[in-house]
Amino acid sequence: MAQLLDTSRQALVLLFSGDPALWSIVSISFSVSLRAVLIATPVAFLLAFLLAHLRFPGRRVLISTFNTLLALPAVVVGLTIYMLLSRNGPFGDLKLLFTQTGMVIGQIVLCFPLLVAFSHATLQAADQRAWETAVTLGAKPWQAMLTLMCEVRYGLIAAVTAAFGRIIAEVGSSMMIGGNILNYTRNITTAIALETSKGEFAQGIALGIILLLSALLLNFALTFMQARDDDAL
């Protein structure tokens, strides 16, 4: 118990002393995960919209597939992409293994099913009248789609938050694809894993606190935004 308190104290000192190595790890984590979410979200929303509004053969199979992929383990994604990107793999020539781009790809694969499944559920439940009203007031289909998404924005934002939460906290795929290279592909989770194996618990705990705090901040921001919208009008 005493050891835990001691390491926590050391962790706080690390956090507030502005240790450059620690903040480099944090920035890599956020940069990779934000890029992954930003790339995955528009495509996922569009696909979710089509799944919710078009009737085409194979639609239900696709929806079930994405729901199943929610349970995809990060290490399996890591393993698969590792094999694809490794020198002998089909995409070996791209030389993406052990790069941030490779990590981004892995995280896109991880968060895409979640984004599709959650935003599909939101759009499916959206009021049919929103779409009809937009169209009858002269909106083009793509404008009506944006209007509809704007109407259910809180549900969609929740989907993005959940997706971001999943990939910033995953360790399996980042470790395998990124390779945990200091100042390049070492992010919060892979660093925690490494420091723990070295017995350096203080830095591990410091990183863990940052992870939690960032999640807390993000959710506070969203809640306040929603509350402001509710009060302002």
Binding site: E132, T133, G138, Q143
Partner: protein
């Protein structure tokens, strides 16, 4: 007023291939308000959504401005020219002003032009005070007004209003009706669906009905009350004004009829009636049910059969004039002859020759008064106390319907009904009901005794009846003269 949109052979099925409707022809003219009635599930909303381009028909030949268009092209036109308003209008999660600006932003105007138009529209609909409120937080009536305004700023050619008056209080209704009327005065055509057919008297130029049952299954039925020419309309409105001002409606009477009234023996007996009765005469409209087939009279139109040289209808009108505020004639044949009497002639609003209930409903729909007195067209000895006695019994018993009784049996077509019964009657008819007794049984019924008027219910069914009635009438006249 030219037809700008015409749909022919419009067919639509719902799941499992069940045919929802099959409409031969549906035309919409410029600057016309069509009231579309029909029961739940008759397809009113689906029809509107097809007209808005939001729902695809199984088949339709579409003529737009005289041009045959395939569905895809027609849909583009409809998106552009038609605005559909949901029964509960959808408000975007924005302010009232932003809601109204929604369509304008997408029509290629710049921001300043949009703002100006929105300001004008807010003023037009008296919504300026609500401009910055979130539209979702408004009351039902306010939402309806925002939705109407949001549609109006786009200057559509056709507005489709799905049950705009459902579940609204009186104030909100009046404001909404007022807006609909103003839209019409701006040259916008509209289709308004309603469960309450009488709103067609408030806003409709034409009335169509989607039926679920009977011979008109799932089709728009043609012979409609308010499909009348403009001339007839103005005559009706004049007539209503006359009722309202309390002048004797005989002012619009044809001369020969007025003259006849003075001579009428039945009328003379009117003097026996208490003059300062409290019955609200102006609030009673009589409908003479002359819409039957008269099979036993070899199809001769009973109301027009001459009794002692005058059509039976004249005898009846003469008896009714002192008793009621207005008279309607319900007929389906020989309309020109019936129109000679200068009283509004109304046709059955659904099908033809469906029986007296349809005639009653048509009558109820056409009047604005609180009570409807129904009499058949083949009983010339209408008691001068008919309306009064039926009314008193109705009030005494706090009943919905007061019906005459001759001590042995009920005379269901001699009845006084409250106007509020129309929705119930429409529902009954739409569900296929035709029997007068069954429908009466659903309501509080007051039986009014007329056993002291033995001749009241004599009716003419065969040529023999006619002769005996003529003799009886001559005898009565003699009694009155002596």
């Amino acid at each position: 007023m030219s037809v700008f949109l015409q749909l022919k052979h419009l067919r639509k099925s719902v799941n499992a291939g069940e045919r929802l409707f099959d409409i031969d022809e549906f035309s919409i003219r410029e600057n016309t308000c069509i009231v579309l009635s029909g029961g739940n599930g008759a397809g009113k909303t689906t029809l509107l959504k097809i007209l808005a381009g939001l729902d695809k028909p199984d088949h339709a030949d579409i003529l737009y401005d005289g041009e045959h268009l395939p569905w895809k092209l027609a849909q583009q036109k409809l998106f552009h020219d038609v605005v559909y308003l949901h029964q509960q209008p959808y408000m975007f999660d924005k302010t009232v002003a932003e809601n109204i600006a929604y369509g304008l932003h997408r029509s290629g105007l710049n921001r300043a032009q949009v703002d100006e138009k929105v300001d004008q529209a807010l003023h037009w609909a008296q919504l300026s005070k609500l401009a910055t409120r979130n539209a979702r937080r408004l009351s039902g009536g306010e939402k309806q007004r925002v939705a109407l305004t949001r549609a109006r700023v786009l200057s559509p050619r056709l507005l489709l209003l799905d049950e705009p008056l459902a579940s609204m209080d009186i104030n909100a209704r009046e404001q909404t009706i007022d807006l609909i009327k103003r839209l019409k005065s701006e040259g916008v055509s509209s289709i308004v669906t309603s469960h309450e057919p009488h709103i067609s008297t408030l806003i409709g130029d034409e009335h169509r009905h989607l039926c679920k049952t009977g011979p008109c299954r799932y089709t728009v039925v043609k012979p409609f009350l308010f499909q009348r020419d403009m001339e007839q309309r103005s005559r009706l409105s004049k007539q209503h004004k006359t009722y309202a001002s309390g002048e004797p409606s005989a002012g619009l009477h044809l001369e020969d009829c007025a003259e006849h009234r003075n001579k009428s023996p039945v009328n003379r007996s009117n003097t026996t009636m208490n003059e300062d009765t409290t019955i609200p005469k102006q609030q009673i409209t009589a409908v003479i049910l002359a819409g039957g087939l008269a099979r036993r009279m070899s199809g001769q139109d009973k109301g027009l059969i001459e009794i002692n040289g005058r059509p039976m209808l004249e005898h009846i009108i003469a008896a009714l004039i002192p008793q009621v505020g207005g008279i309607l004639i319900n007929a389906n044949r020989n309309l020109d002859q019936y129109r000679r009497y200068a009283y509004p002639v109304i046709e059955d609003m659904m099908g033809e020759f469906f029986g007296p209930l349809v005639g009653m409903a048509s009558g109820m729909q056409a009047t604005n008064t609180d009570y409807l007195l129904t009499v058949p067209c083949d009983s010339p000895f209408i008691p001068p106390v008919l309306a009064e006695r039926l009314f008193r019994e109705l009030e005494d018993k706090q009943a919905d319907i007061s019906v005459a009784h001759d001590s042995t049996r009920m005379q269901p077509v001699f009845a006084l009904l409250r106007k509020g019964l129309l929705p119930s009657l429409m529902t009954y008819l739409e569900d296929g009901g035709r029997k007068i007794d069954t429908w009466y049984a659903e309501h509080r019924l007051a039986k009014t005794d007329f056993s002291d008027w033995p001749d009241a219910f004599i009716n003419i069914n065969t040529p023999d009846d006619k002769q005996s009635v003529e003799q009886k009438m001559i005898r009565q006249k003699d009694v009155h003269i002596t």
